[in-house]
């Protein structure tokens, strides 16, 4: 019977697709692990890029990521609250959609935009611009998670608060937000994992720095931009350092990701 054969073929193809996806994941992680572990040694964690180490890169990446979070989280959560709790009209609906659009904005364009805004006028690359670019990448993700996590909080909870005579913003901050805490935390962790691995927004904002620095008004070191630069060098040592950096970066990103999922599973 012809139909049955078609059916079998399609099922087989679909299973193949899934195997392909998993295969590629393990292929990438596998090569990354092999290349990374060979290149990792104590030296790279205790030295900066100028001495073929990645200490300053890790620190720089985290500083910009954390700074970006400090900007994006309060603004993003507040925006999510507005969209879900206050907005009732069409304008809010448009804002929600625009925020979704921003989520898919090309990261290189965000980098170039911040270059035009904060690098060109100042006259030189700076870490602060890098953090702002990352914050712009992070914001829409935080807005959208907050918005959708708040939508899962049952109406009755708000009504109960109102029945007790609470004012609207107190109910939101003390009851609704608390009920959605786990989901929002997970969303923020995933958003952090996303921006900590970004390269394109940093290329023309923080650029890179060979040395350890905490001065955000000048060029700032990062793992991702360094990987991009090192991979283009012809010498083996630079490429190995790029692999080491890639391995560390991926491990950190995936661990934060899995941590986020673990939190939702256990407390959600």
């Amino acid at each position: 019977m012809n139909r049955l054969i078609v059916n079998k073929i399609i099922i087989a193809l679909s299973v193949f697709s899934a195997l392909f996806g998993i295969g590629v994941l393990f292929w990438i992680l596998g090569t990354l692990t092999i290349k990374g572990i060979v290149s990792i040694n104590w030296h790279i964690f205790t030295h900066d890029l100028v001495e073929k180490g990645i200490r300053n890169l890790i620190i720089g990446q985290f500083i910009m990521g954390i700074l970006a979070s400090f900007i994006a989280i309060p603004v993003g959560v507040a925006a999510g609250i507005y969209l879900r709790e206050y907005n009732t009209n069409k304008f809010g609906e448009i804002l929600r959609n625009l925020s979704d659009v921003m989520m898919s904005a090309p990261s290189i364009v965000v980098g170039i935009f911040v270059y035009g805004l904060l690098v060109d006028p100042i006259g030189h690359y700076n870490g602060f611009a890098g953090a702002i670019a990352l914050a712009i990448m992070m914001l829409p993700i935080v807005i959208s998670t907050t918005d959708s996590m708040l939508s899962l909080v049952p109406k009755e909870l708000r009504e109960a608060g109102i029945a007790l005579g609470g004012s609207k913003h107190k109910i939101i901050l003390q009851i609704v937000l608390r009920a959605a805490k786990v989901g929002i935390t997970t969303g923020i962790l995933l958003a952090f994992a996303r921006i900590i691995g970004e390269t394109a927004p940093l290329l023309f904002t923080s650029a890179n720095n060979q040395y350890l620095t905490f001065d955000l008004t000048h060029q700032f070191p990062s793992l991702t931009v360094s990987i991009y630069n090192l991979a283009n060098y012809p010498d083996e040592a630079s490429i190995n350092l790029a692999w080491a950096a890639s391995f560390i970066l991926t491990i950190v990103v995936l661990i934060i990701n899995l941590l986020g999922r673990y939190i939702t599973r256990n407390k959600g």
């Binding site: 019977m1 139909r3 049955l4 059916n7």
Partner: protein, 260 residues
């Protein structure tokens, strides 16, 4: 004559510790309407869904006993619990149609809905499709209402019309048996009346088994009634007998509305 014979049939869901159906013995008589009644959770749907083995879409369920289906071609009964191959299931499901509680029009036109099963069977000839679709829609008393908009989406029909469309879709395959699982419980009284009338007319061509919570519907519509309780068949008989003079106290309590 019996179109189906259910013998010592037990059924256990994959994740369940106890069987949901225990040792059921029940005939389904040819060109008659058999009603399955009983309180919620007693196993009516489970039994009905065993008759076309739709349970097998989900792995791990356990069948015991026999369900015999009469084959007019060979004049013999075959045990549908022994089916294993995919084409045997397809064949069974085309012989034993099913109508669900909520109307389930497919996201396509009215015509394509009714032609769906025919096309699966490889009928491609346009004029043959058209005659068969018209025939089925007339059989489901829907033709006059939709003949001018056969190309329109089936989603645009009213609930009652959608349900009759689903019946037409099943009837188009000329099944030997039609299974109805509470076909009117999601409909208004007028649509319910139309469906009941339709089911009554259908029985001259097909054998019917219908699950219902509506006692009046069961007594109006059916020739035979089976009363089930907690996974067991308590009583089976002619409908008048069940409703007027049941043998079992439990049956009487149920149909008089003392529980359920």
């Amino acid at each position: 004559m019996n179109m189906m014979e259910i013998k010592n049939f037990s059924f256990t869901y994959a994740k369940a510790s106890k069987p949901s159906l225990k040792n059921i013995n029940l005939p389904i008589k040819k060109n008659q309407i058999t009603a399955l009644i009983g309180p919620s959770g007693c196993g009516k749907s489970t039994l009905l869904r065993s008759l076309n083995r739709i349970h097998d879409l989900y792995p791990g369920n356990k069948y015991e006993g026999e369900i015999l289906l009469y084959n007019p071609q060979t004049n013999e009964y075959e045990n549908i619990l022994e089916l294993k191959k995919e084409n045997e299931f397809i064949n069974l499901r085309q012989r034993v149609g099913m109508i669900f509680q909520k109307p389930t029009p497919f996201p396509m036109s009215i015509f394509d809905n009714v032609a769906y099963g025919l096309r699966l069977n490889g009928i491609k000839n346009k004029s043959e499709l058209e005659t068969r679709v018209e025939e089925a829609l007339k059989g489901a008393a829907l033709w006059n209402e939709v003949k001018d908009r056969l190309k329109a989406s089936a989603m645009g029909l009213s609930g009652g019309q959608q349900q009759r469309l689903c019946i037409a879709r099943a009837v188009a395959l000329k099944p030997e048996i039609l299974l109805f699982d509470e076909p009117t419980s999601a409909l208004d009284p007028i649509s319910t009346g139309a469906i009941e009338q339709l089911v009554a007319e259908l029985k001259k061509d097909v054998t019917i088994a219908i699950v219902t919570h509506n006692m009046q519907q069961a007594s109006r519509l059916s020739d035979y009634t089976a009363f089930m309780y907690m996974g067991e068949l308590i009583e089976y008989n002619k409908t008048e007998k069940i409703f007027l003079n049941p043998d079992e106290k439990l049956t009487e309590d149920y149909i008089t509305g003392r529980f359920g």
